[in-house]
């Protein structure tokens, strides 16, 4: 952020990002053209593609931050915790500290609306799932290292991470269709679902 040039670049990118997300959430992702985004910031379409690899890429700018944030949290967990403990505390910690990281680029509220839009837009939802799969791949490697096993011969790291990720996905899904659209809400929902998954798997639902 030193030179004028760098500041200008930063401003252009921020403007493109904000404007794009605003357009996406108001008129919808598919109904927003890259030309419109560029025009709204008064740069050429070509310039847009110099800042973002694709139209999709803008939509995932903030999710990229949260993913990195989460991965870092997992890395920092003490090695004596079990894999599940470590994963659980990582997500919870992430939700506690993510807001300021987001706010540096866009208002948290805009991010939350973007998130809902991603869940509701098929092509973005697909990309979202693929990103999560990639994140899980990395987490699995971290877990494998923690536990001192080889992820290519021992399926357990990937299994644990995938199962955990599945609970997270159900959480996000139900949060995105729910009423309370806040960070607090998803935090609590996450804890609740993580508590329920054990009994749901083994218990007899028809007993009570």
């Amino acid at each position: 952020m030193e030179t004028l040039r760098e500041r200008k670049k930063q401003r252009t990118r921020d403007a493109l990002l904000r404007s794009a997300l605003e357009l996406f959430v108001t008129r919808g992702y598919e109904h927003t053209t890259v030309d419109e985004i560029a025009e709204s910031v008064d740069v050429s379409q070509r310039t847009f593609f110099r800042y973002f690899a694709s139209k999709e890429d803008v939509a995932f700018f903030v999710p990229r931050l949260t993913e990195a944030h989460y991965i870092e949290a997992v890395r920092r967990r003490p090695p004596e915790e079990t894999p599940l403990e470590a994963l659980r505390r990582s997500v919870m910690d992430s939700w506690d500290t993510i807001e300021e990281a987001i706010e540096r680029y866009v208002p948290v509220e805009l991010f939350l609306r973007t998130y809902k839009m991603i869940e509701a837009t098929p092509v973005l939802f697909a990309a979202h799932l693929r990103r999560q799969a990639e994140t899980e791949e990395e987490i699995a490697r971290i877990v494998a290292e923690r536990e001192g096993v080889d992820p290519d011969t021992d399926p357990r790291p990937r299994l644990v991470v995938a199962v955990f990720g599945a609970v997270i996905r159900v959480t996000e899904r139900n949060w995105s269709v729910g009423e309370d659209f806040s960070v607090t809400a998803i935090r609590e929902l996450t804890a609740s679902y993580l508590d329920q998954v054990g009994p749901a798997l083994t218990g007899n639902w028809r007993a009570g």
Copy 2:
């Protein structure tokens, strides 16, 4: 398949499907244009899009069959089984009986290669995950009905189905990067991973 007209249509669609998959697996999905597919069957590009909604759509023609097959298998499970039992037996049954359904359209061997290509092509892999998410949504509704609960208030159906799906995905992943590329192999891998997931979640990995 009555009239000449209908037989002609069927033949055109089959030819497009076969030719497209063949091109995809040999020269890659991204390096195959719709024009080339159309040309290889000697129809116009416009006609291709009358048979398939998109380029992506052709790639998922056979996966669509297997998904439907699996959903049907779940529907047919006796109600006294627990959700996990029912899901497990459904996948295993599906793998036993899917081959003839596939063979009606394309050689099973071509399908297996297509599957590997899907896993290896980012945009197709993303679409694949989204399709699985949709399938899981439907399965969750079936499970909810079996157990007599409301999936919109009780998170357990979606949780169980998501967790089960996660194991399936790890299975597919490891199968697709492995050596033995047969239906038997994925069948056995599925059983093995389903057995390992419980201990992996609760056990102490560093004990043994």
